[in-house]
């Protein structure tokens, strides 16, 4: 038997500029990977990539759509960065988004027919609270029963999905809706104001931007942010410093749940305007990629959300012009994560080849 001896060594100091440049490299590699896939499928790769990444944002409507998609992605990813920075693996933002949507949507239906400036803020607030409550389930189970938050938060996604299914088919379905699985259209006061006539971009983007700013403040300027940073680097040190580990787990889950809930309520009061089965094209899962692509940094996440939002749009254009399934978008999202993790590994570790050697066993 012959064995190639490979040794992996940790690199000691990684310069910050390269640390923030590797996501760009990952995106570049994704484009190359995408080109190869399109070529194998028999398309002209340059043309295909153009359809995927240029055509969708070549007009004002496209740019507005980009922001419509980036708004929830950025918001959820910002929330998740709190969890991920402190070593809490909340994988269930999709569920928290849906549950926030359910609660916010329920309140919106409650206010059906009411008009007034107070309606929308109440709906938004209840959506955030819904997301929070749903995120607290894995947090409390983790702190008091030592369960694994990855499993619990992920499984709760399906609970939320099925609950939404039940509500839109059963009790909340539109009485005049010919049994379509959807609720009534929310009244005008329950809708996010549209920013420009004819475009779908809505006021939710301001919520996202405010959250980004607030998160930056919390993460870099407050004691809570400092505790999150220390816990993420060394749990032993956090314990030694006397940080309240349990409280912190709950706080980061609450923040990230609230963000996901806001994203959910932003979708249903914004572009959708009612509850139906598919209020989110997996924004909650895709936001995990956004969070890491943005290096868990609020500004980085803004850029990352735009890039990833583009894959959603690109997939739709590609479906129309190239007749490829829209799931190509997910292929691109997967490739981004793959190349990011790959380049990160090479960034943090050196691989040494020690040469071939005969292995006599």
């Amino acid at each position: 038997m012959e064995a190639l001896l490979i040794k992996v060594e940790k690199r000691n100091d990684v310069s910050p500029s390269i640390y923030f440049l590797t996501p760009v490299l990952a995106i570049f590699l994704t484009l190359i990977g995408g080109a190869i896939i399109f070529y194998v499928l028999g398309f002209n790769p340059i043309e295909a990539l153009k359809f995927f990444f240029i055509t969708p944002i070549s007009d004002l409507y496209g740019l507005s759509e980009l922001l419509v998609k980036a708004t929830p992605l950025c918001l959820i990813a910002i929330g998740l960065s709190f969890c991920f920075k402190s070593n809490n693996w909340n994988i269930g933002a999709e569920g928290q988004l849906i549950f926030g949507g359910i609660v916010g949507g329920g309140v919106a239906l409650l206010f059906y027919g009411h008009e007034g400036f107070y309606v929308l803020p109440i709906i938004i607030l209840s959506g955030a609270i819904g997301g929070m409550i749903f995120a607290m389930i894995p947090a409390i189970l983790k702190t008091y029963f030592n369960t694994n938050e990855i499993l619990v938060s992920l499984m709760l996604v399906y609970v939320a999905k099925l609950l939404l299914d039940y509500l839109v088919v059963g009790p909340w379905s539109n009485p005049e809706g010919f049994n379509f699985p959807e609720t009534r259209q929310f009244s005008e006061s329950a809708r996010m104001p549209i920013l420009f006539d004819g475009l779908r971009i809505h006021a939710g983007i301001f919520i996202t931007l405010a959250t980004v700013f607030l998160s930056w403040l919390i993460l870099y300027k407050t004691y809570l942010g400092f505790q999150i940073k220390v816990s993420g680097l060394s749990l032993k040190t956090a314990k030694y410093a006397g940080y309240k580990g349990k409280t912190m787990i709950i706080i980061v889950f609450v923040i990230s749940g609230a963000c996901a809930g806001l994203a959910g309520v932003g979708e249903i009061t914004g572009p959708i305007g009612q509850l139906h089965r598919n209020i989110s094209p997996d924004y909650g899962f895709t936001a995990i990629i956004v969070a890491f692509l943005g290096r868990l940094n609020p500004v980085g996440i803004i850029f990352a959300s735009l890039v990833v939002a583009l894959t959603y749009l690109g997939a739709e254009t590609a479906q129309i012009f190239l007749q490829v399934p829209k799931y190509t978008g997910q292929v691109f999202q997967g490739m981004i994560l793959f190349f990011l993790l790959g380049s990160d590994y090479l960034l943090f570790f050196k691989i040494k080849f020690l040469g071939l050697r005969k292995n006599e066993l």
Partner: protein, 499 residues
């Protein structure tokens, strides 16, 4: 089968520490050799060199007069050197047999016959087809041993094999090891447990600070003599002044401290009671792994135990976490300065902010007061002569000595009434050690108290007013440091008793 293993002038130097300093040893088959030494004495490095994990900077290894090059674990296997590590290298979810077959080139049927022979010969009772996770620690170790035996080893190295075994399993292991030895396998037994050396081994080599300090026949040794060789008996000339604390008030009283751990690698603490006066230094000696780390964590509040009473300045603090205890003017310096007391990736001033309490004003209304923290950090850097004035420097660029000065400085600059430290000078150079010792003596003179948990007896005799020994989670009686001799400490550290 006659095997002769000679280690000749092996040296291994790590940055800032000489792990092995011209180590020469000779071993012959038919005997069980003990390699005895404290944590950090260099025995692990030596064993890693023998098993090919670490390459020595200098020196040679001869097996049966042949100079062998051990560049990788494969070379060790090729030369029939087998190794059982303290932490098992087994796949928990695979079956015993699958674990054995992974690194064997034999056919499965052949291997099964061989393994069954070994099981029968040594009377091991292990089901080969159940997953490893269902085995006890002792059985897992047997799997590791079988894995070595499959290769007909000439040399078998056991690294701290009894740390996770029960008494019965330990006895079984000794029976097996004696059998192997009779069959001509050369056995090197690494441990810091003195009783095991005397009951199992024929010869013992003691290592201290990277050097072999003695090689002798175990029949000529007693527990005390070995303990002294292990931790060093040369008292340093500087002895601290006698403090006038005898009539001062009691500052700390611990009663009924019990701790039972779920983790087999941890030590349970059994009924610890002690107290401390203002200005006094209590030294806690012991061979590492006898409960020191658990005791430190209970004193610091990282572990909260039931029913224990910790009275500090007339307040019950046993249920408080470390940050809350700091409010009562306690300070803590843990053993692990790199991954616990400080975070290497954080900047100096951020590490300083770890010791935060209300009056420090590092965080006002929840916001970071960076200016305040940096000013405070600069003060620590200059007062405790840390070799930099750049508070933005990442801590990973500080040497061990400077990092420890920073940590001790961070803990002391707030004038705490009690400092608890665990191996405060472990792995430091002489200059840094002296500096830290002077600092610790200084705080006693200022009427502040300290508890020093240390595996270095020189250090304890230099710093302490009273000394006790921790052994298997129990504390010995507390003695006046002036009446303590290294011999007495040796007896207590080996589990013996004195009047």
């Amino acid at each position: 089968m006659n095997t002769k293993l000679i280690i000749s002038k092996i040296s291994k130097i790590y940055p800032g520490c000489i792990a092995n300093d011209k180590v020469s040893l000779e071993f012959g088959s038919g005997k069980i050799y003990a390699l005895l030494g404290e944590n950090g004495a260099g025995k692990s490095t030596l064993v890693k060199i023998l098993s090919g994990v670490v390459k020595p900077d200098e020196g040679e290894v001869f097996l049966n007069n042949e100079n062998i090059k051990l560049n990788s674990p494969l070379d060790a296997k090729k030369n029939n050197i087998g190794m059982v590590f303290q932490h098992f290298n087994l796949f928990e979810t695979l079956s015993v047999f699958e674990n054995l077959s992974i690194d064997s080139s034999k056919k499965n049927e052949e291997l099964r016959l061989l393994v069954n022979d070994i099981l029968k010969k040594y009377n091991f009772k292990i089901d080969l087809d159940i997953p490893v996770l269902n085995l006890s620690a002792g059985q897992k170790q047997k799997v590791e041993i079988i894995r070595c035996l499959i290769r007909n080893p000439k040399v078998l190295i056991m690294d701290e094999p009894t740390s996770v075994l029960t008494e019965q399993e330990t006895e079984d292991l000794f029976v097996s090891l004696k059998k192997f030895s009779k069959e001509g396998i050369l056995i090197i037994y690494i441990t810091h447990k003195l009783k095991e050396v005397l009951s199992l081994c024929d010869e013992v080599a003691v290592m201290r600070k990277g050097k072999v300090v003695s090689v002798s026949n175990t029949k000529e040794e007693r527990i005390e003599s070995l303990a002294n060789k292990m931790v060093g008996e040369n008292l340093s000339s500087v002895k601290k002044k006698i403090n006038n604390f005898k009539n001062s008030e009691e500052i700390l009283k611990i009663s009924n401290l019990n701790f039972t751990s779920d983790d087999p690698y941890e030590t349970n603490l059994i009924n610890l009671n002690f107290s401390l006066k203002k200005g006094e230094c209590l030294g806690i000696a012991g061979i590492s792994g006898n409960g020191q780390s658990e005791l430190f964590q209970i004193l610091s509040g990282e572990i909260i135990t039931e029913n224990t009473s910790i009275m500090f300045r007339q307040k019950e603090i046993s249920k408080l976490n470390p940050r809350e205890r700091r409010e009562y003017l306690m300070a803590f310096s843990p053993e692990d300065r790199i991954s616990q007391a400080a975070v290497p990736e954080l900047k100096i001033y951020e590490n300083v902010a770890l010791n935060n309490f209300k009056s420090s004003n590092f965080f006002e209304k929840g916001l970071v007061n960076e200016k305040k923290i940096k000013e405070h950090s600069k003060k620590i850097l200059s007062n405790f002569s840390v070799n930099t004035d750049n508070v933005e420097l990442k801590s990973q660029f500080l040497s061990g000595g400077n990092l420890q000065k920073l940590i001790i400085g961070r803990e002391l600059i707030t004038s705490p009434e009690l400092l608890v430290c665990f191996n405060p000078t472990w792995g430091l150079d002489v200059g840094a050690i002296n500096y830290i010792h002077e600092t610790l003596i200084n705080i006693n003179e200022q009427g502040k108290s300290s508890i020093v948990i240390s595996t270095d007896n020189d250090e304890l005799l230099r710093l302490s007013d009273r000394i006790c020994v921790i052994y298997k989670g129990k504390l010995s009686k507390i003695m006046d440091a002036n009446t303590v001799t290294p011999e007495k400490l040796g007896v207590l550290m080996g589990g013996g008793s004195i009047d």
